[in-house]
Amino acid sequence: MANIANKKAICDLLLEKAKTDKDIVVLCSDSRGSASLAPFFEEFPQQSVETGIAEQDLVGISAGLAKCGKKPFAASPASFITTRSYEQCKVDVAYSNTNVTLIGISGGVSYGALGMSHHSAQDIAAMAAIPGMRVYFPSDHFQTTKLMEALLKDEKPSYVRVGRNAVPEIYSEDNCTFEIDKANILSEGKDVAIIACGEMVYEALEAAKALKEEGILATVVDMYCLKPLDEDTIIKVTKDVKAVITIEEHSPYGGLGSMVSQVVGENNPKLVVNMSLPDAPVITGTSSEVFDYYGLNKEGIVKKVKEIIK
């Protein structure tokens, strides 16, 4: 178990890059503590902007900065930066094509018992539906660092969702294959393809290990890039398997499951089962209690695979 949260990896990278890149600007909306970005504000006050509790302002200001050559990274709870600032994301960032990186922190059900106002179970759906917006759900901190390095190099809008807690490592220092917008195939098996994103990738890998012991071979894909969706990889890994499972910390509508179903339906029609949060306010609990309750874990995946592959 690693103890580096993805958001911490983002801060560490920005701290390092900002030493030489004076165009990097970090923006927060009374969220620097929760984003783990307080060290950046301390170290680079001239490259930091605090907007107060005003997420629309946060995204609008970011777009303006980007238009004038800055490289803004706006970090605020995923639920607010996407849905509260939705129109700013759509018009000022995506439509105007400004080089803004939107960082949704404490994504999904990270906020546990704080309830639906604080959960972001619709951020893939919302952001992916905007033309020109890229959507990324990195799995571990190694991948998060690689992703941020890549985003720093290009000049296009993007939305990155990270969770609140540290997540187990999937990759390692010298084994973190990364190509922007190219999904990672983590294991190959002929029976079932498990396509996951974000925190669910680790559960998918664990499930694949458990299934192997029972003689069921699973392909596992880390679909960190939801948009542009790596359709080639989806087509490739779903071609010969008996069924496909998608798993995500998101509503059942408009997320990874919907997107994969679309691609599989068009190219390799077969059974696709979507594991996700329900279309309802989730049960009160910590994120792991919530995942366990809805079967969004290793055991849940194993059970589902055995149900559909006889």
Partner: protein, 274 residues
């Protein structure tokens, strides 16, 4: 005399117990808003479990929804539900007592948690009362950090446009938010002028943790015709114990055992003054 003042301290204890039990909660803002809630629910508002569905009841929206723990304590004392159930299950697996107001709980009108929503909703409620010639009043309680949300000022504009003298907003002016003081984060020292320039009647409550001063201000607001009123209630974040008062790191913090016993002692001492 002094009954509501004492009650506020009893409810502070329930609130802290809930936070300790649930291992979560926004304790600082719970403490600063307590007298505002107590004065509204036990003196000003016509609301109780008996009339909770009566269209003529007064309406309340906790726009700073993160102060839900003190709100639960007040609603339980009003008889809407059992305080023990709220304390025992708060924030725990499967509980309906979550970390923000939700209207599956009796007594709660509107769900909140995302800041900056309450005032426009209150405007809608107050407009409905005007449309239907009801004499009830609408109260919205906001945080001071919350006032950075543009939607607050959109609501403020509509409230004066429609001359909503049946609407009374309260700002829990504790001068702190998460990242520091409100003046450091997004200054608003001219808050009174801002609301006045939006057409509001502004009442400054010098000590927003004084039941007596709050009572006078709410009473005065009732007599104002043709304008909405806002009370700028100058409160102390973490009010009730020196362990928490004016300490930004107590925005959300679960007291340790040691802190807990000091806090409860302090509450007792403060209570005895009344």
């Amino acid at each position: 005399m002094g009954e509501l003042e004492k009650l506020a301290y009893d409810l502070r204890k329930d609130t802290v117990d809930m936070i300790v039990s649930g291992k979560a909660g926004h304790i600082g803002g719970d403490m600063s808003v307590m007298e505002i809630l107590v004065e509204l629910y036990f003196d000003q508002m016509n609301i109780s479990p008996e009339n909770k569905d009566d269209p003529n009841r007064d309406l309340f929206v906790l726009s700073k929804g993160h102060s839900v723990e003190s709100y639960y304590s007040v609603l339980a004392k009003k008889g809407f539900f059992d305080i023990k159930e709220a304390i025992d299950t708060f924030s725990k697996f499967g509980s309906k007592y979550i970390g923000h107001p939700n209207n599956k709980i009796p007594g709660i009108e509107m769900n909140s948690g995302s800041l900056g929503h309450g005032l426009p909703v209150g405007v809608g409620m107050a407009l409905a009362s005007k449309m239907d010639n009801r004499k009830n009043r609408v109260y919205v309680v906001m945080g001071d950090g919350e006032l950075a949300e543009g939607s607050v000022w959109e609501g403020a504009m509509s409230a004066s446009q429609y001359k909503l003298d049946n609407l009374c907003a309260v700002v829990d002016r504790n001068r702190l938010q998460i990242s520091g003081t409100t003046e450091e984060v997004m200054g608003q020292d001219d808050l009174h002028d801002r609301f006045r320039s939006f057409g509001w009647n502004v009442i400054d409550v010098e000590d927003g943790n004084s039941i007596e001063q709050l009572k006078m201000a709410f009473d005065k607001a009732k007599s104002v015709v043709g304008k909405p009123t806002v009370l700028i209630a100058n409160t102390v974040k973490g009010k009730g114990s020196s362990v928490m008062e004016n300490n930004v790191s107590w925005h959300h913090h679960v007291p340790t055992e040691e802190e807990y016993s000091q806090i409860i002692k302090d509450f007792q001492i403060r209570k005895e003054v009344f």
